[in-house]
């Protein structure tokens, strides 16, 4: 059963809460999903997915509110929304800008949903033929592509990814029952290694709280400009989007494409889309001064990411961004593995995901579009009052990850501190998390491959699909080097 009233209610709650998280600078969709994941213990995966995908869509969409009204992106993916949205708000066109952004977000979400629907099954079909060699190489490719798109810091990006792999290996190796990388006193708690949920709650929720505490937990002293105007020319009409059809679709597709690439994130999607919009614009000089096309490009792209990031997850088992990496936790909790066989083995679940994304986008539009004047007030919610409750939820969630284990709470605190250090050293937490999630599979496929070839590494170069993946790996590294040099030259 793909549809029920409970699903709709959960999706609605997810979208509404997600919008609040997205609209508060410093809180993200990833954080929302991470702390709400424990709530899904009590539900089946269908119901959980409606809640979590609602949080995902709401969290990404809510970021446009502070970006437009006060020029502070609520989420990293709204980074370019303020470029044109805020000047519009300053001209007294705040409501118009918000509604344009919401409409573009909705279109972006639907386009990416269609891409997810049509692209995932053939990609999964192709991946079914993959042996251990190809699977190992695809994971390696995912790790190198993190580097290729870690703007300016490809070495640190790839370093964080491999560090995540190493940390994921700190556990008992089941085949020969031997521990590795684990101090003796931690062995009783580390039989299966660090649990995913406390690791991601620590990295994405606790780190954020530490950073805010360091800054003094300053309240958002935002005084949003009066968002509505009595002047009819400053009001929103769907005709405001006239001439932006191609821009909408192109931006949504760019967002979807960037979403497919592991570890890249929404900020890259909106930046790429915005720069393409500038290239194609008839009036590029107007971008940045309150042009509708710039706002459309940014918002269509960041919501395009939502469906795109699910494509590699559901076809290859590789999360497209940090938020879908958190979704892996939801599947794991229910004992379902994502990968090439996911759609064939779980057709109901596949349909539920598509339905949940569609419903979440519709709810997002309804919840945000009409009461936008009230939604805008979310940005003034006091963080100092919200964070203690979030800490409480983080502790409860971590403790419950293994049905009641205090070691998981300490794991969460430890990874929160580690994430804080990462932010200081410029290491990417999403890259680390993706490495952490893929690390154990990377090892399994590597061992399987060399077992089949009596230890010979030549097996990694003998399969046609494998060789294609090698070309992609080399190309992604070459692109990373070229892009880093180009960025350095531009900076000069």
């Amino acid at each position: 059963m793909v549809f029920s009233f409970t699903y709709l209610v959960m999706c609605f709650i997810g979208v509404a809460v997600g919008i609040i998280f997205g609209a508060l600078p410093g809180m993200t969709a990833t954080m929302a999903i991470a702390i709400f994941l424990p709530l899904t213990y009590a539900y089946d995966l269908h119901t959980s997915l409606f809640l979590l995908l609602g949080l995902y869509v709401g969290g990404i969409s809510g970021g446009l509110v502070p970006a437009i009204l006060v020029n502070i992106p609520g989420t990293p993916s709204s980074i370019t929304t303020g470029f044109d949205g805020h000047p519009m708000a300053q001209r007294g066109e705040g409501e118009k800008a918000l509604k344009i952004g919401i409409t573009a977000s909705f279109v972006g979400g639907i386009v990416s949903l269609l891409c997810l629907w049509f692209l995932t099954p053939p990609l999964a079909k192709l991946a079914i033929n993959f042996g251990a060699v190809e699977k190992f190489l695809v994971i390696l490719f995912a790790l190198t592509i993190i580097a290729a798109l870690s703007k300016g810091d490809m070495l640190k990006g790839i370093f964080a990814g491999f560090l995540g792999v190493l940390v994921s290996l700190a556990k008992n190796y089941t085949l020969n029952n031997k521990f590795r990388l684990v101090p003796e006193f931690m062995e009783p708690n580390m039989y299966s290694g660090f649990t995913l949920l406390p690791v991601l709650i620590g990295l994405f929720a606790l780190t954020q709280i530490f950073q805010e505490a360091e800054k003094g937990m300053k309240e958002n002293d935002f005084k949003p400009t009066d968002i509505s105007s009595s002047d009819d020319s400053k009001k929103f009409h769907f005709s405001c989007l006239k001439g932006n059809g191609i821009n909408l679709i192109r931006s949504a597709l760019i967002g979807t494409f960037v979403g497919v690439l592991p570890g890249v994130g929404g900020s890259a999607a909106s930046l790429l889309s915005y720069s393409q919009c500038k290239n194609f614009s008839k009036h590029p000089e107007k971008l940045g001064t309150g042009a509708v096309e710039g706002l459309v490009a940014s918002e269509a792209a960041n919501n395009g990411l939502t469906g795109g990031a699910l494509i590699p997850l559901l076809s290859l088992g590789i999360p497209g961004d940090s938020t879908t990496a958190v979704l892996v936790g939801a599947f794991m909790l229910q004992g379902i593995s994502v990968g090439p066989l996911f759609i064939t083995q779980n057709p109901d679940l596949w349909r539920a995901i598509l339905m949940a994304l569609a419903v979440a986008n519709v709810f997002m539009f309804i919840i945000m579009f009409y009461p936008i004047k009230y939604i805008a007030k979310i940005i003034n919610l006091p963080k100092a009052r919200l964070y203690p409750v979030i800490i409480l939820m983080c502790i409860v969630g971590s403790y419950a990850a293994n049905n009641g284990n205090m070691f998981d709470v300490w794991t969460m605190i430890g990874f929160g501190i580690l994430g804080y250090f990462f932010s200081k050293w410029g290491l990417s937490a999403p890259s680390f998390l993706i490495g952490f999630i893929l690390g154990r599979d990377l090892e399994t496929y590597f061992i399987d491959a060399i077992q089949g070839s009596q230890g010979s590494l030549i097996c990694f170069f003998q399969r046609p699909i494998g060789n294609v993946v090698w070309v992609m790996i080399v190309a992604s590294i070459a692109f990373a080097i070229w892009d880093a040099r180009r960025s350095a030259k531009t900076a000069k």
Binding site: L39, A42, V165, M217, Y387, A400, G404, L442, Q451, G455
Partner: protein, 146 residues
């Protein structure tokens, strides 16, 4: 060179050394890149003026947050979930809203006093949030609580 000595006994220690090797190689590259950049820009390799924390960082809130986070799980083990949560969520509220507000309580003035209002709000939030989470997670969803 292109062969790995695989046996059942050493299977657990094949991939970790490779990953450690990759990490060392990457670390070396990061160091070399920094050295080249420093040579180009005539800046010292080790920045003696490096500040780990941001300028004017809030020592009380950051360190206080860390200390409370460590004490909170210990308290949960000692006095159970609900009382520990009420106490610690209250403390987190007071800490994040600014401990200086506590000093304002001395000025008196009842509910009009900012300090008293803040403390009462903190107390209210801590009780409602803790009981709500305890009820929703522990009773409705039957999630194991500390």
């Amino acid at each position: 060179m292109f062969k790995i000595n695989y046996s059942w006994g050493n299977a657990h220690w094949i991939v970790p050394p490779i990953i450690i090797g990759v990490l060392c190689f990457l670390f070396l590259l990061i160091v070399i890149r920094r050295a080249i950049n420093c040579a180009k820009t005539h800046t010292p390799f080790i920045n003696l003026h490096y500040h780990f924390f941001i300028e004017n960082w809030d020592k009380v809130k950051l360190i206080g947050c860390l200390v409370l986070l460590i004490l909170y799980p210990l308290a949960m083990q000692a006095i159970h979930f609900l009382p520990a949560s009420i106490i610690f969520i209250f403390l987190f509220n007071v800490l994040f809203c600014g401990v200086d507000k506590l000093a304002m309580i001395k000025q008196g003035g009842g509910l009009k006093n900012e300090g008293i209002k803040s403390v009462l709000t903190s107390l209210l939030i801590s009780v409602i949030a803790s009981v709500f989470i305890w009820f929703i997670f522990g009773t409705v969803f039957r999630v194991t609580l500390p």
